[in-house]
């Protein structure tokens, strides 16, 4: 473990007895209390704790909602309204759960972008990164399943679209197996409820592995330079626990502002209309956090060897699969974007591009952004959402397949500090430049 041998000493007879049989206290002490953490972590590094908080909130509110929700297609929609109107504080718990999903994704995007920026996916943290991508996938599955449960127009038709997508790849036998019938109907809802209840606990388990992988190799930090000794670290408690409490309170303010004053900000009006299998809504769109992948799916509106529908699904899945390869795609020896001026620009363009793709995925297909004329029927033509999504998809894949491998070979990084402690001292001296000369023995400060 990155922290070295355990420093836990049982303080009394009882704790010594327990330690010999099940070292729970030792485990808690080594990982939560005394774990040596780099002292220069900034606020971008608090989102792991925020994510754990979000998971707990979702599980607690979810279990409570499950006491009242009825997973049957004839009753589901009305049971959600029963929760909103009749269950004591039901409206609060439902709004927390519903918006908790959005905030969970806001936090996970910050967390992922942090990893991309500081090179936290590079050796020896490849497995840590891969576990993270698995958690991200599980989150998307859980969110999708949860969204179908109220059995609204958007639930029903969103389920239809996504299950049909899988069918494009795997065949109608597969979709009928998934549906439990010949279309999205009650059997589908019942099994989606069961899986939605299950997956968060799988996420919990994989998160434990994720933290274990982190603690085994130790945290990265904004300099990208590995910890060299105790002068570079502070124990997790109270230093970072104090920071986590503060940041979680701030996060909760933003969360409360939405839950209490704009609870349907992230939603669609069609989510308040009961599902009707005979009437497609004018505009089927996923929740915002899945928008970018939906945009990439719709960007493929041409055939190339394969049918455009199949190709679109492959591109969408490829966009997620590529994330697994990131540790090997980036060839740079320097971790942190702080010292990689070209990568810095490419990264921020990537973030902006992802935001634009997310927005594009929510727009009605065919929306024209810059009109250049009209077609035979008088409809406007020009630069439209599909064109924008195509450009966005190209940059998304280009960032991973072209930029990451090539930059490492051709980019000239900025000079790196010798160590975390040196960098911190340089910053304290008011400046932060010229760390290269400050090689002298790092001062030990308490």
């Amino acid at each position: 473990m990155a922290s070295g041998p355990s420093t836990y000493k049982p303080s009394n007879g009882l704790t010594r007895w327990l330690d010999e049989r099940l070292p729970l206290m030792r485990f808690a002490n080594d990982n939560l209390l005394s774990f040596p953490t780099p002292k220069n972590l900034n606020y971008a590094y608090t989102f792991g704790a925020i994510l754990f908080y979000c998971l707990v909130v979702q599980i607690v509110t979810g279990i409570v909602l499950a006491m009242h929700f009825i997973p049957n297609s004839a009753l589901a929609f009305n049971s959600v309204e029963y929760i909103m109107r009749d269950v004591n504080y039901g409206w609060l718990i439902r709004y927390i759960h519903m918006n908790g999903a959005s905030f969970f994704f806001i936090a996970v995007y910050v967390h992922i972008f942090r990893g991309l920026y500081y090179g936290s996916y590079k050796a020896p943290r490849e497995v840590l990164w891969i576990l993270g991508v698995i958690i991200f996938l599980l989150m998307m599955a859980t969110a999708f399943l949860g969204y179908t449960l109220p059995w609204s127009q958007m639930s029903l038709w969103g389920a239809n679209v996504i299950t049909n997508l899988l069918g494009a790849l795997l065949g109608t036998d597969f979709t009928q197996w998934l549906w439990g019938g010949y279309s999205v109907d009650n059997p589908t809802l019942q099994r989606f409820f069961s899986l939605h209840y299950l997956l968060p606990f799988v996420i919990l388990g994989v998160s434990v592995l994720h933290v274990w992988a982190l603690h085994h190799v130790g945290n990265n930090n904004p300099t990208g330079i590995e910890v060299k000794g105790p002068q570079d670290t502070v124990p997790l408690m109270p230093y970072y626990t104090a920071k986590y409490f503060f940041v979680i309170a701030l996060f909760t303010i933003a969360f409360a502002a939405v839950v209490f004053y704009a609870p349907n900000l992230f939603g669609h009006v069609d989510h308040y209309v009961p599902g009707d299998p005979l009437k497609t809504p004018a505009h089927i769109a996923p929740e915002w956090y899945l928008g970018a992948f939906y945009a990439m799916l719709r960007a493929v509106d041409f055939n190339f060897i394969l049918d455009s529908k199949v190709l679109g699904v492959l591109v969408m899945l490829g966009a997620i699969a590529i994330l697994f390869l990131v540790p090997w795609l980036d060839t740079s020896k320097v971790r942190s974007a702080r010292y990689r001026p070209v990568y810095w620009w490419c990264f921020w363009i990537f973030v902006a591009n992802y935001a634009v793709l997310s927005w594009a995925g929510l727009q009605p297909a065919g929306t024209v952004l810059f009109q250049t004329g009209v077609d035979a029927d008088g409809n406007p033509v020009g630069f439209n959402i599909t064109h924008l999504s195509q450009i966005g998809t190209l940059y998304y894949f280009g960032f991973f397949i072209v930029i990451m491998p090539l930059l490492g070979l051709f980019e000239t990084p900025r000079p790196l500090p010798d160590s975390i402690a040196t960098a911190v001292l340089a910053k304290k001296k008011g400046g932060g430049a010229a760390p290269a000369g400050a090689a002298a023995a790092p001062e030990t400060r308490v």
Binding site: H68, D86, Y89
Partner: protein, 173 residues
Amino acid sequence: MSASTHDDATRRDFLYVFSGAAAGVGVAVTAWPFIDQMNPSAATQALATTEVALAAIPEGQQITVMWQGKPTWVRKRTAAEIEQVRAMPDSALKVPEADQSRTKKPEWLVVIGICTHLGCIPNRDNVGSPGGYLCACHGSVYDASGRILRGPAPLNLEVPPYEFVSDTLLRIG
């Protein structure tokens, strides 16, 4: 140095204690909705009272209505039945209780039809106790006032809260 660290220590502790207490209060207040959501919902509470039209019940007959999920008997007793239960001595009763304190109007008996032993629903009976009830599960016998006479049941049949809205309308609960 020592004086400032001592001051430091108290100031620091007070801040931490206060912050911790405030956070604790926050957590406790947040916990309340999660506990309260398990209490009966507004829809359930709306069914907390049941109204019964009495005109349709002839003398000597009993109807069963559901009140808060429990079978509740509304019975119009005959004069003979009323006289009989009111003449019962305390010594004959396992749990002595006057019929007058179990009914508001002598001809109307309103009791919950659940045996106080282990919860079965007793039947009308004329063998063990004329005009009374016999629980088939373990043999408890109740009289026409719902009082336990013999058998394993420890208590008289429960009398729910009720009131006569009018001569023809009873509200239970």
